[in-house]
């Protein structure tokens, strides 16, 4: 059965290109995608995840304010009783010269995987297959570094 994933751009960010491409890629890979679009609040992500009985939430952010926008998100998911895989990707900090530091901070916020803005959709899909235990090929497994 197809797994459902929630997709959206958090906060006041209006950058839509990345999630548009990701939506196409995820659909082609056999996922049921709920694309919440740009300027999506934490509450909207949580409501959508609950309503769609989703397996994963993929958050995109490109304007540099993701850390503020994501404060308390994991806690709210836990309060809602949603044990769900969470990824975030994009330009996650203003002037991100050290991505490992950015990754560490977002892991502390509770994200299972953190991707930079250069990530190919295939990498996110391979990671999802691994984390959601969907059968995958060796080649894809090797790509996963997020």
């Amino acid at each position: 059965m197809a797994k459902t994933v929630i997709l959206g751009v958090i906060g006041s960010d209006a950058h839509v290109v990345g999630i548009t491409i990701l939506e196409q890629a995820l659909s082609a890979a056999g996922f049921d995608v709920v694309n919440l679009g740009v300027q999506t609040s934490q509450e909207d992500f949580i409501t959508a995840a609950r309503d769609a009985d989703a397996e994963a939430v993929l958050i995109s952010s490109l304007y540099g304010h993701a850390e503020q926008d994501c404060q308390g998100f994991r806690e709210r998911l836990d309060e809602a009783g949603l044990d769900i895989v969470t990824y975030i990707g994009g330009n996650l900090a203003v002037g991100q010269d050290d991505f490992e530091e950015t990754r560490r901070r977002f892991r502390e916020l509770g994200f299972d995987r953190v991707f930079d803005s250069e990530t190919d959709p295939e990498d996110a899909i391979a990671a999802l297959r691994q984390d959601l235990q969907i059968a995958t090929t060796e080649a894809e497994r090797h790509r996963v570094e997020g």
């Binding site: 196409q24 890629a25 740009v38 300027q39």
Partner: protein
């Protein structure tokens, strides 16, 4: 019901008073006194006259900082070191969201410690007097550039403040910029802006209006951009605007860009009528830039080359620091000089490109189909037709964040790097046009030995910043 009809004078005054009552600086606007101020300006600051009289493309950068004295310094630099013909004032994001209190806080912070937390010039907070000080300090005409869905107060204050050109429109400043603004409401708000520009125009102060051509700035097919430009132009003309600059963003294929600029001008003149001065503006590449100033200069150079061949009335330049966001004033001036070098070297060569006529015919046919569908859906009323067309997807913009557009159309480059439509969704194009697009994309798929998939779209989005035009598959991938 929303109609494409002029706002009656009494209603214009009522809305104007209400809008200006919403923020203290609105009180300082006095229409008669503003007309007198405009009449006092020298001919060199009359935006429409300067633009329409130009014999070769005029160059204009983007630029805006919060403090008035800094904005004057910045524009003086672009005028002197960059030799800009026309100047901009780019408005900050809070003002674009009508958050004048936050803009005030940002302006106060900038004044207190020099820290620029605003990304532009908060013209509403500077008020009529602040705007006039800016207009008086510079020699060239200055345009207001922004991205504001509800720009009524901004227009009221900047028109009274001496600005004679104002970017934006109900579609072009809604669909690419916001998620939840209702298109009908945005059209009403821009009818007010255009009617106000029309009121000045009737008194001999022609306010130039410039719909924002690049839209989402991401591989926008020329026919979609041109249809939106002509529609916004028609809405503005109804309200009395008589100087309109239609825009188009560089896609990077020389033949297609030249053809699109010619199509934009001819369809603009055809649909907007004889008593309107139609000019065109070419935006240098609005997509992702290479993260390398030398390569970025190459992209800018191609823009200058294209402008020299197509000869639009105006070029909006980019800076080699585009990748990093807001450029230094030196980099901004460098983008102007690079563009001018290319324009001046090429413009007298009378370059004739093979294939422009064919591409021009295709773009004109497709643009006309979209425009005519909008008119048909509105039963002749362009405002109603616009609502119906975006609602059904008959008119659509790729990568649109707005809930008011379907955003289902997807573009991809063909084997020559021209933008074609990969996913038409409900776009109102004929089977003839669709077949040409499909065939062209098939050729590319053959060349690359892969199927037409969204992967081409994704590759094309990144191609120019990666150093190419077309997102071909890489070896070993």
């Amino acid at each position: 019901m929303l109609r494409d009809e002029p706002i009656p004078g009494e209603q214009l005054r009522r809305i104007d008073e209400e809008i200006r009552g919403n923020w203290p600086t609105g009180q300082a606007v006095d229409f008669e006194e503003a007309i007198a101020f405009h009449e006092s300006l020298p001919a060199s600051k009359r935006f429409a006259d300067v633009l329409e009289a130009a014999e070769k493309p005029l160059l204009q950068p983007r630029a805006g900082v919060p403090r008035l004295d800094d904005q004057i310094d910045l524009l003086e630099h672009l005028q002197n070191a960059g030799q800009a013909d026309l100047l901009p004032t780019t408005i900050d994001s809070y003002t674009r969201d009508n958050e004048y209190e936050k803009a005030q806080q940002g302006l106060d912070d900038a004044r207190a410690d020099g820290e620029d937390t605003l990304n532009g010039f908060p013209a509403v907070n500077h008020g009529v007097d602040g705007c006039r000080e800016l207009i008086e300090a510079l020699d060239a005409p200055i345009e207001v550039r922004h991205g504001t869905p509800d720009a009524r107060l901004l227009a009221s204050i900047t028109f009274a403040g001496g600005f004679q050109s104002f970017e934006g429109g109900p579609i072009s400043y809604n669909i690419p910029y916001t998620k939840e603004h209702d298109l009908e409401e945005t059209i009403r708000h821009w009818q007010f802006v255009d009617r106000l520009a029309g009121a000045y125009t009737e008194r001999g102060v022609r306010i130039n209006r410039e719909p924002f051509g690049p839209l989402t700035g991401t591989l926008v097919p020329p026919c979609i951009a041109i249809a939106v430009m002509v529609i916004e132009g028609m809405l503005a003309v109804t309200q009395g605007v008589r100087s309109i600059t239609l825009g188009y963003g560089q896609v990077g294929n020389l033949v297609q860009d030249v053809a699109a600029l010619h199509a934009l001008r001819s369809l603009g003149e055809e649909y907007l009528g004889d008593d309107v001065a139609v000019t065109t503006v070419f935006h240098e590449w609005m997509g992702g830039f290479p993260p390398d100033e030398a390569r970025a200069n190459g992209v800018i150079g191609l823009g200058g080359m294209t402008a020299a061949v197509a000869q639009p009335d105006k070029v909006i330049t980019k800076s080699p620091q585009e990748f990093q966001g807001v450029p230094t004033k030196e980099a901004n001036a460098a983008g102007l000089r690079t563009t001018r070098q290319l324009v001046d070297m090429v413009i007298e060569q009378n370059v004739q490109l093979v294939g422009v006529d064919r591409e021009l015919n295709l773009i004109q046919k497709a643009s006309r189909e979209l425009i005519e569908e909008v008119l048909a859906l509105g039963d002749g009323d362009v405002a109603q037709g616009t609502l119906a067309a975006f609602d059904s997807g008959a008119l659509d913009v790729p990568f649109a964040p707005s809930d008011s557009a379907k955003g289902d159309v997807l573009p991809a480059r063909d084997d020559d790097g021209r933008i074609r439509i990969f996913e038409f969704a409900d776009l109102a194009l004929s089977d003839d046009v669709k077949e040409i697009h499909r065939n062209r994309l098939d050729s590319r798929a053959d060349t690359e030995g892969r199927d037409q998939t969204f992967r081409m779209v994704a590759d094309d989005v990144d191609a120019i910043s990666d150093g190419k035009l077309i997102g071909r598959p890489q070896g070993g991938d």
